[in-house]
Amino acid sequence: MSEEILDSRVPRLAIGCRVRTISADEAMLLVPEGALRLKGAASEIISLIDGHRSVDAITVLLQQRHVSSEASRIAVEVKQFIEKLHARSVLLYKD
């Protein structure tokens, strides 16, 4: 049995938050009164948050893209990153 906990919630950027692409592996997440510099994996994850993909779908997509990386580690990274932004009210889950 898989240890993975399914997460079908769909994250979307909160109102007034916007991603500004800087380069292929760098982005700025612009929020009211601040900004977050996202590099590498973080930049890739944010680019996949479109208000349609679920946390699971994003995880699977990244696992397919990075077959040489450990699948469970990618799952943890995605979850932690999304939770961190959710805690800052930058990301919301769609109703």
């Binding site: 109102i15 007034g16 916007r18 009211p32 900004a35 977050l36 510099r37 009210s89």
Partner: protein
């Protein structure tokens, strides 16, 4: 709590000075309100001297090229400019995050839609109190009821909404009601800011300075509200630095993160910098933003720490708060290079403590912010 980025190297610059992160555009000093704690300078710019639309557009493009991320359209009242929607659009086209700080006066449903269509991303609406009569007294205008109506309009639009409230001696006893009213407007964010004593607020300091017990209570109430609202509304607080142990990192450090352009195009390192004698400010009408940021004497005057005297020059906090606020140091000690007296390590700190412990000035009259006074 807010995510912040550190100043960064800009692509356009070969110089080692990192570019600004935000551009504060004081697009006009005209305002229908006359708030007794306005942060504008006592000497304000007339409407005749204001930059034209195309001059602002150029400024926004140059700021973005220099590395700025956020554009804060403020005033005065930004809505007093007829070209406000064009300025919002120009900011977005320059790839900046566009925020507008407003009293709301002059805003209608049509105008709000126009601003939304132009790409406004964040709007900050000010409240002066929860009590209508008091709110109107502090603003010197009958504005409160209108603001509450406007909030209903704003929250239906696709933009982030912050309610700003300035607190002081004469409204702090109603802080719970103030937070409750702000909350009822359903913004994403609430900012509760204790008055900072510059400009008009310094003039009215005797009536605005809170008592120590008011400050103590406000800290507790704000913490309670923050935990109650967590996950729903982000509540941010600015505490009064007169009561602090260490000074605030004013504007993120002189010439490190922020550039302010006044209505006439003068480039300033902070809102109040004009009060410091001997500083000369250059204009965007004659210079590029890159030159103003990197080369102008005003921005270099207190950059880094070569200008510091003891105790700052030896202090391990000198890269944390950069000696605090230069304007406050000048206002309270007469020397802009001295340690900000808000710092407990300043030999002038006692002066500041004495001000906070002075008894309320009973019958002193408000001095209202009036353009014609200047």
């Amino acid at each position: 709590m807010e995510p912040k980025v550190t100043p960064h190297e800009t692509a356009s610059s070969t110089n080692s000075i990192p570019g600004p992160l935000s551009l504060v555009a004081e697009i006009t000093h005209r305002c229908p309100l006359h708030c007794v704690y306005c942060s504008n300078p006592l000497q304000m710019q007339s409407s005749e001297s204001e930059l034209h639309t195309e001059e602002w557009v150029r400024v926004f493009q140059q700021a973005s090229a220099l590395g700025a991320l956020h554009l804060h359209l403020t005033g005065g009242e930004p809505l007093a400019r007829h070209d406000i929607a064009d300025l919002v659009r120009a900011g977005r086209e320059a790839n900046l995050y566009v925020n507008m700080i407003t009293s709301g006066l002059g805003l209608t449903a049509d105008r709000l839609r126009e601003l939304e269509d132009a790409g406004l991303e964040h709007i900050q609406l000010s409240l002066q109190d929860a009590d209508e009569q008091k709110a109107n007294e502090f603003a010197g205008a009958r504005a409160h009821a209108r603001k509450l109506k406007l909030a209903e309009l704003i929250r239906t639009r696709d933009m982030a909404f912050t309610v700003n409230v300035v607190v002081h001696r004469e409204n702090l006893d109603r802080l719970e009601e103030i937070i409750a009213q702000a909350e009822s407007l359903e913004p994403q964010r609430i900012e509760v800011a204790h008055v900072q004593y510059y400009g008009w607020a310094l003039t009215n300091r005797d009536r605005l300075m809170p008592t120590p017990s008011q400050v103590e209570r406000s800290v507790r109430l704000i913490a309670e509200a923050q935990s109650r609202l967590s996950g729903r509304i982000q509540l941010q607080a600015v505490l009064p630095d007169y009561y602090a142990r260490y000074p605030k990192t004013c504007v993120g450090g002189w010439g490190r993160q922020m550039m302010l352009i006044d209505p006439s195009g003068l480039a300033l390192p902070c809102h109040a910098a004009g009060i410091i004698p001997g500083l000369e400010f250059d204009s965007v009408r004659r210079h590029s933003l890159q030159w103003l940021w990197e080369e102008s004497s005003a921005f270099n005057r207190f950059r880094g720490h070569d200008w510091m005297a003891l105790p700052c020059s030896d202090c391990d906090r000198r890269e944390i708060d950069y000696g605090g606020c230069r304007c406050q140091a000048f206002q309270l000690t007469g020397d802009a290079t001295s340690t900000d007296p808000a710092c407990s390590l300043s030999d002038q700190h006692g002066k500041l403590v004495a001000i906070t412990q002075a008894s309320p000035a009973g019958n002193s009259q408000w001095v209202y912010r009036i353009l014609a006074n200047s």
